[in-house]
Symmetry: C2
Subunit: 195 residues, 2 copies
C-alpha cells in the first residue's frame, strides 16, 4: 500500500492527463486518477489546486485548466540577468507559445527554410518560419513570395520607387517584379529548434 500522494504529485497526474487527453477529467475519472473513493475528496482537492493556480473553477462549477497546467512556460527577463530566485520564478508570468506567436491559427502555417538568402536577418537553412496568409505585407516585412515560379523569403520593400524584394544576403540582388507580385503571406516568427 503506497503512501498518499502529495499535492504536487496529483498536479503532475492531472497535467499528464490534460496533455494526453486535451481535456480535464470528470469526477469519476479523477476518482481513479487519484485513487479516491469519495467525490467530496475530489471536490476539496480541486479547491486546493485552484489555490495553487493550476485550475480555475467557474461560477457555474465548471473546471478549466490554467496555463500552469497546459504546458505554458515561465517568462523571465533578459539573458544577462539569468534565472531569478526560486521565489521570483514562482511569481513569473507564464506564456503559451501557441497563444503568443499565433493570432490566427487557421491562417498560419509552418514551413522549413531551405535557402540562405535571408542569412543576415538571422534566418538560416533548417529554421522554421510561421507564415500568415491573408495578411497585407507592409514595408520591411519578411514575406513569402513567388519569384520565377519558386517561393522564397525576402524583405518586402515599398518606397518612392515602388515595390521590390530584397534578400538579407549580399549574394542575392534585389528583385523588382515586372508583372504583379505574388505574396503568399507574411512571416510572423522564425523558430530554430535545437536537438
Amino acid at each position: 500500500m503506497r503512501s498518499p500522494l502529495s499535492l504536487q504529485e496529483k498536479i503532475t497526474l492531472l497535467s499528464q492527463f490534460y496533455r494526453r487527453e486535451h481535456r480535464l477529467p470528470g469526477y469519476a475519472e479523477m476518482l481513479t486518477l487519484f485513487d479516491y473513493r469519495s467525490r467530496n475528496a475530489v471536490f476539496k482537492l480541486l479547491r486546493r489546486m485552484e489555490l495553487a493556480g493550476v485550475v480555475r473553477i467557474g461560477a457555474n462549477g465548471k473546471l478549466s485548466a490554467t496555463d500552469r497546467l497546459s504546458g505554458a512556460i515561465r517568462l523571465l527577463g533578459q539573458v544577462k540577468a539569468g534565472f531569478p530566485s526560486p521565489a521570483e520564478e514562482e511569481l513569473a508570468d507564464t506564456i503559451s507559445l501557441d497563444e503568443y506567436l499565433i493570432s490566427h491559427p487557421a491562417a498560419t502555417f509552418m514551413l522549413t527554410v531551405s535557402g540562405d538568402s535571408m542569412l543576415d536577418a538571422g534566418i538560416h537553412p533548417g529554421d522554421l518560419v510561421l507564415v500568415e496568409k491573408g495578411r497585407e505585407a507592409r514595408h520591411n516585412d519578411v514575406v513569402l513570395a513567388q519569384v520565377d515560379g519558386e517561393w522564397t523569403l525576402k524583405y518586402y520593400i515599398c518606397d518612392a520607387h515602388g515595390v521590390r524584394l530584397e534578400a538579407a544576403n549580399r549574394r542575392y540582388p534585389p528583385i523588382r517584379p515586372r508583372q504583379s507580385l505574388q505574396i503568399g503571406g507574411v512571416v510572423r516568427a522564425v523558430i530554430r529548434k535545437y536537438r
Copy 2:
C-alpha cells in the same frame, strides 16, 4: 431572426469558447452557444464536428478538443515549395508549438537576448530563447552560462583540452573557466517574433 449557422460558423464559435475558457462547453452551455433548444441537436452536431476532425469523443462519451480546435497550425514543407493546394492544405498535419518546442514545461523558461555574442549563430538581440534547466550540456550545445557574475549565451565546447565556452561572433574570445563553470540550462529553441 437570423439564418441558421453553418457548421464552420459553429466550429468557429466553439474554437473561440475553447481559447477563452480553456475547456470545451458542457451541453447546457452549447445550447446557448449555438442557439439550440435540444440536447439531441448538440449530440448530433458533435458527431458532425468529430467527422470534421475538430473534436474527439471518447469511449466514455467525453469530449476532447483536437489540435484543429486548440490553436495548432498547419505544418507544410519547405519554403521553396510554398503553399500546397487547398485540398493538400486540408490534409496537412497540425502542430502545436507548445508541444513541439517544449518537452518539460516546468523546467523551461523564456528569456530575451540582449547581447550580440551569438550573432553568427543567428541569435540576434531581441530574440527569445527557450532554456531548459536541469539538462546536461553536451558538446556544441548553446547554453546559458554564468561568466564573471553575468549570464550569457555561448556554445559549450568539450574536447581533448577540456571545456570552454565559445561565442559565435569573432569579437568575443573563447572563455576557459578557471573555477567551476556554472551552466544554467541548455537552449532548446530560438524564437524571433515579428510585429
